[in-house]
């Protein structure tokens, strides 16, 4: 039977399990939208293409499925660039569909033509320009497979309008086998796993370092078992938060620039580190020369480029994490390392309470209250800046996909659209979007989307009238010369939300419970504006260029 490219596109996506597309139309994408009401796929109309990409990203992070976004050619496509880069940096499985001018106009500077393939080449895992309708089905299958396989990432498919309107016989062809990237073979895995287990069993001060790859590989259970089996203390990276659950109190927190002092100190003292699913980004290691100076480092990752990229590991294994860890578990001895654990406990009690100065304690209490009231399995979506670090430290993420944040790219304006996607992907879980006033303004237009679809997303805006983290850096590291960090208090955020049709309340940090409860009871969306003193910073913090042992808790002399 003859079908149009648009039908083939939508049918292939549906067949591959795509249920939702986030998008914004333009004349060049109309042939696709024209057929969408006949397809089982729901299309959510956002208010800016960047938000379409973030929503698809949030959907993917919350569900583990591939997120799909769709824009028109030209400005629609370029507006998605930040969202695609955000997904790329955190390895989110995403397929970005962009309409394109007709194939005969390519390269002619036609209206709304842009070379989106060229623009996004460094920020996509792969991309395709579909120049014949016959190739559409196999290209889309390949795009989805590439997005979700190995180390996941965004894939862009550029769709000239004539390819979408053209008709062709449905090929019904079998999927073309994608060249699988090489990982270690069985023999290598066994040998490396043995080597790792030997080091781990001999180590006196071992630490397991958990990266975002654990979630992506669905390896949360085996890694939790490994930690349990070996009675091993662990730290996470920012992206690894919430991946591993251990009732034994071995979670020392996340490492790095804004990490916990306990985690950073433990890594510094460790004699063996097993790093799983992490690239050792500069935010995790800080000054690389002084990272884990005493440790032998073993690394397991599906992506060979993540191995040895930033740090030279002594033992490297390119393999699926679940496969490798499952093989490792029976080889790991339960070993009593009372000296090491006592030392950690001593550190812990020395450090505890340091947060409470500088106003951090008050914010932390507020965020924990929100979680308590919203329910333990609620999903928090953090934005970027002070609100992000507060949330990462305070939200007790008990499920692997319970805390979403733009870790690698640090994209302000991420939380609201990503929360929309997360809510649509997991309608049974409460979703709370945290942001500061700065990030909130960056995608404020999405309040209209939330309101239009009556998406029950709860939005918390910490309003300190400033770009808080910029202010903190200027305060601490630029001799308190404040420039371009004040947003002011002229905007009534609560009134703005109400103007969008979203009920809203304004509360203060120390008198917030009634507001949170009201938010909980709201059937639809709700916005809570929380006034925060601009002098509430995040501590500890590592000064730029410092090592993970140079955490500071206040102004430097």
């Amino acid at each position: 039977m003859e079908k149009t490219g648009a039908d083939i596109l939508l049918e292939t996506l549906a067949k591959e399990g795509v249920e939702v597309i986030f998008g914004y139309p333009g004349t060049n994408s109309l042939p696709i939208l024209d057929r969408i009401s006949d397809s089982p796929i729901d299309h959510y109309l956002v208010r800016h293409e960047q938000a379409a990409a973030h929503a698809a990203d949030g959907y993917a992070r919350a569900t583990g499925k591939v997120g799909v976004c769709l824009s028109t050619s030209g400005p629609g496509a370029t507006n998605m660039v930040t969202g695609i880069a955000t997904a790329y940096m955190d390895s989110t499985p995403l397929v970005a569909l962009t309409a394109q001018v007709t194939t005969d106009l390519l390269g002619s500077d036609a209206f709304q033509e842009t070379d989106i393939i060229g623009i996004t080449m460094p920020i996509t895992k792969h991309s395709f320009l579909v120049n014949r309708v016959e190739k559409l089905e196999s290209t889309l299958e390949e795009a989805l497979e590439i997005a979700r396989s190995g180390r996941p990432g965004p894939v862009l498919v550029d769709l000239p309008i004539d390819v979408i309107t053209e008709r062709c016989q449905s090929t019904g062809k079998k999927k073309s086998a994608l060249a699988q990237k090489k990982t270690a073979n069985r023999k290598e895995i066994t040998a490396k796993v043995r080597e790792i287990s030997r080091h781990l069993n001999e180590a006196e001060r071992p630490i397991i370092m958990i990266g975002g790859g654990i979630k992506l590989a669905d390896a949360c259970i085996p890694v939790s078992e490994l930690i349990e089996q070996g009675q091993l203390p662990f730290v996470t990276t920012m992206m690894g938060i919430g991946s591993v659950h251990s009732p034994n109190g071995f979670n020392l927190g996340f490492i790095g620039t804004h990490g916990s002092e306990l985690a950073n100190r433990a890594v510094h003292q460790a004699d063996f580190i097993l790093a799983v699913g992490t690239r050792f980004s500069d935010r995790s290691t800080s000054k690389i020369e002084q990272f884990a100076p005493l440790a032998t480092i073993a690394q397991i990752d599906i992506d060979p480029t993540s191995i040895g990229k930033n740090i030279k590991s002594d033992i490297a294994l390119v393999a699926d994490i679940s496969e490798a860890v499952n093989e490792l578990i029976p080889l790991v001895k339960k070993k009593k390392r009372s000296q090491w654990l006592e030392r950690i406990e001593r550190e812990r009690s020395n450090i505890e309470g340091k947060h409470l100065s500088n106003g951090f304690g008050q914010v932390a209490k507020f965020i924990r209250k929100v979680q308590e009231i919203m329910g333990e399995d609620a999903i928090a979506v953090a934005d970027v800046g002070l609100n992000q670090i507060w949330t990462l430290h305070s939200w007790r993420s008990n499920t692997p996909r319970g805390l979403l944040t733009s870790g690698g790219m640090g994209t302000m304006g991420f939380s609201l659209p990503a929360a929309m996607g997360a809510k649509i992907g997991s309608p049974d879980r409460e979703v709370v979007a945290f942001s500061g006033d700065g990030g909130f303004f960056m995608n404020i237009q999405e309040l209209a989307t939330v309101s239009y679809y009556n998406l029950p997303v709860k939005i918390i805006v910490f309003n300190n009238g400033h770009l808080g983290m910029i202010r903190q850096y200027q305060d601490l590291f630029y001799n308190a010369r404040f420039n371009a960090c004040e947003l002011g208090d002229k905007v009534d955020i609560k009134a703005v939300a109400r103007g969008f049709g979203i009920p809203a309340e304004k509360v203060s940090l120390d008198n917030s419970v009634a507001g949170i409860e009201k938010m909980r009871r709201a059937q639809g969306p709700y916005l809570l504006e929380v006034t925060v003193d601009p002098n509430n910073y995040v501590f500890p913090i590592i000064p730029p260029g410092g090592s993970n042992m140079e955490m500071i808790y206040g102004r430097q002399k």
């Binding site: 393939i117 460094p122 991309s127 320009l129 990237k181 992506d303 480029t305 040895g308 990229k309």
Partner: protein, 168 residues
Amino acid sequence: MEDEIHVISMLVRNRSGVLSRVAGVFGRLGYNIESLCVAEMTNPKISRITLVSRANADFTEKIKKQLDRLVDVVEVTELTQRHSIQKEMMLLGIYMNSENREEIMQAIAMFGCKIVSIRQNYCIIENVGNRGETETILAYFEPMGIEELARTGMIALQQHKNGNDDEQ
């Protein structure tokens, strides 16, 4: 670590955009490609790219991994001078006159090059050889005034399909 010549040989899928992805890896990291040679294999779905770059060993490792990550790259190998055959072809245009004719002819015989064209006094000399030979010849003809020059860039193949001798 010192910069040195590295020869990277790749099998890639023969599709549009592959070359710009490969070049992009170098460009993004601020490194130059000294020579590049691409052609189809007996299976027309696959091409071989042979490229030469000057970098240190650590950096080359990084580049190889980044190249290998590209979806359209099937295989990446680094070829050492010791364990591979490395050749390039060059065409060199030079004017002959009564003064240098003798010397040019002797050099051509000495280096084993060929004259592939003579029009009036302008001749084109062809040479196939490894990097060292090519550079020696260039250095020899340079003072006589090379009018035009074209080089294919290096192609290379590993001598043992299964890896370097001393690694086995």
